[in-house]
Amino acid sequence: MRKYLVSIFLISFIFSPVAFGDLSGEEIMERVDKNRVYEKIEYDGKMIIKKGDKVRTKLMHVYAEGEEKALIEFTNPEDTGTKYLKLSGEMWIYFPDAEEIIKISGHMLRESMMGSDFSYEDVMENEELRKKYSVTVVGSEAVNERDCYVLELVAKGKKVTYAKRKLWVDKERFAVLKIQLFALSGKLLKEVMVQDVEKYGDRYFATKLTMMNKLIKDSSTTFEMEEIDFDADIPDNTFTKRSLER
């Protein structure tokens, strides 16, 4: 009997992920989210929007805290003074030429921000994907000569923007190098390629990425972050509607 039990134990040990040093999807995501998700951040952002022949560049300064708060202030000449505030699930916009703050509600959040391939929602997202998606490892693949886990994320509930996501996670740094975003039907909608990953303390953070629209030809947006500070001293009243008007 003992022999039998030992062999079972041995066999299960051999096939257990720990034995091979393999991690579960959940565990991988945990590390990814540790890199991705920030408590606080401040940075200078640059967004390059390409549609067919046209190229537009938007410059912005961003403050964000946790999942609920973000303030984006545009600094490129055409949009100077325009500010976006995300607060408790709602978005408010201040336009210098408007004398009131505009609330972007419900269906308007799905509109693209500044004509890019990112919607307001996409831009505001800063939550742990584990919360909304169940994660499975489906394979291994190299991206930019880096060996990656290929993860498949399937939405747990219904209220998600993308029903399914596929992530290519750098095995060494646990940074996401490639993302594919799918519609409910499984059709590929957008693809994101991460071009630069940098180290900030313990964290590996993507600082340059390009989102490509897979359904509409010649439509892509590149997002770059500079002067990133995860310990920024963000003034208390930054994330208020009043600060929009200043």
Partner: protein, 413 residues
């Protein structure tokens, strides 16, 4: 004499009706050209192609980005152009005190546009835009809107509302405007959805720089539209940058009203309907004339007999009566023409107040008053009409009567 009167009445009615129909058609054409198509429309070829989607990124902004004024400068010296007005069309969301409503606006150059539409006639409250660029006292971003639209939002003069629009670069932008006037075209579809803002504000809102969506041109003589358009087009083609990247598609299309599908097809349809009706009228009027003339001849059969007995040949008799008919026809036509022409003339000055007549607004009218067409050629043709019909008609019965034996004719009474 009675026959002359009958003829004159017939001719008169024909004349007045032609004037009325002409007036209706003119009114329709007028409204459509002022509001939508202009006599000539100039736009980026891609914009014109996808006009219903209003793709703002294809703008009229010069040949190398100098702005729409460059085109206006090229157009100015061209003969026959009376107004050249830039416009930006925008579909937006109007937001006022928490309520929002979708609406359609046009960014206009106040001075040029006032030469196209008489705004003083349609303003019901407040004022139209001033012509100064930035007068000290006026609000920074004025807006005038349809009275029904204002009512739906509960907006009064001097209230401020915010316009949310998708810019030419697909981003969302908002601007606050102050209501300085309300207008009413009398057409509910327009009054409940339309507003005007100065084109500079529109360009700022939509990030269009110094571009416009289209240039609307009004011509002195509308028949010349095609010629003028060709002239403008050839001047454009001499510019560097006149063609798009592929080398063969012109950057801008210059479309005279005759070639603007929407206006032209509607117009030709309406014209055919009205012409058809007019034809019916002509036939009717002819029967009256025929009626009269024939009776005159028949009643004088005895007279014909007498003359025949006295020795005139058949041919001479016919001639005699036809001549008489011509004279009566001429007199009748003449009177009818004068009377009808007089009425037409009067009405063309004063206009028919359609509002009062139909108890409500009439389709497409920019003004309530419709001016029947008055023209000398119209008079001439009407006169001829009466004359010819009377004469032609006189021939047959005259011949018939002439053939009859004098004795028989003398007996007939």
């Amino acid at each position: 004499m009675l026959s002359a009167i009958a003829i004159s009445i017939a001719v008169m009615v024909v004349l007045v009706m032609r004037g009325y129909i002409g007036g209706m058609m003119d009114s329709l054409f007028d409204s459509l050209t002022r509001i939508e198509t202009g006599h000539i429309k100039i736009a980026h070829s891609e914009y014109y192609d996808k006009e219903d989607m209003m793709p703002l990124e294809y703008m009229v902004d010069g040949f190398k980005g100098e702005g729409y004024k460059q085109l206006l400068d090229i157009i100015e010296p061209v003969d026959g152009v009376s107004v050249a007005a830039p416009r930006i069309k925008l579909g937006v969301l109007l937001s006022f005190q928490g309520k929002s409503r979708s609406a359609m606006g046009i960014g206009i150059d106040p001075k040029a546009e006032s030469m196209i539409t008489s705004f003083d006639k349609i303003m019901v409250e407040g004022e139209y835009f001033g012509y100064d660029e930035n007068p000290a006292s006026a609000p920074k971003y004025p807006i005038i809107m349809g009275a029904a639209l204002a009512e739906k939002l509960g907006i009064e003069l001097e209230d401020k509302l915010t316009i949310l629009a998708r810019t030419a670069y697909d981003s969302l932008k908002g601007m606050t405007f102050t209501v300085t006037g309300k207008f009413s075209y009398g057409i509910s579809m327009m009054d409940s959805k339309l507003f005007y803002i100065p084109i500079r504000s529109a360009a700022r809102l939509l990030e269009m720089g110094n571009g416009a969506s289209e240039l609307i041109l009004m011509i002195d003589k509308i028949e010349d539209a095609e010629k003028v358009a060709d002239e403008i087009n050839s001047r454009f083609q001499q510019q560097e940058g006149a063609y798009l990247k592929d080398g063969s598609t012109p950057r801008y299309v210059v479309v005279p009203w005759q070639r603007q599908e929407s206006l032209f097809t509607m117009f030709s349809m309406v014209t055919s309907v009205y012409n058809f009706v007019f034809l019916g009228l002509l036939v009717l009027a002819s029967t009256v004339i025929i009626n009269t003339t024939m009776m005159v001849i028949y009643e004088r059969t005895r007279e014909i007999g007498t003359i025949g007995a006295l020795g005139m040949t058949g041919g001479q008799i016919v001639l005699l009566f036809v001549l008489e008919a011509i004279i009566i026809g001429a007199i009748g036509s003449f009177i009818g023409t004068i009377a009808g022409g007089g009425i037409d003339f009067l009405l063309s000055r004063v206009g028919i107040n359609l509002n009062a007549l139909t108890g409500g607004s009439v389709d497409f009218a920019v003004t309530d008053i419709m001016y029947p067409r008055f023209g000398l050629s119209l008079l001439f043709w009407s006169f001829l009409f009466g004359l010819i019909v009377a004469s032609a008609v006189a021939y047959i019965p005259a011949r018939r009567s002439a053939k009859v034996e004098p004795a028989e004719a003398l007996r007939a009474v």
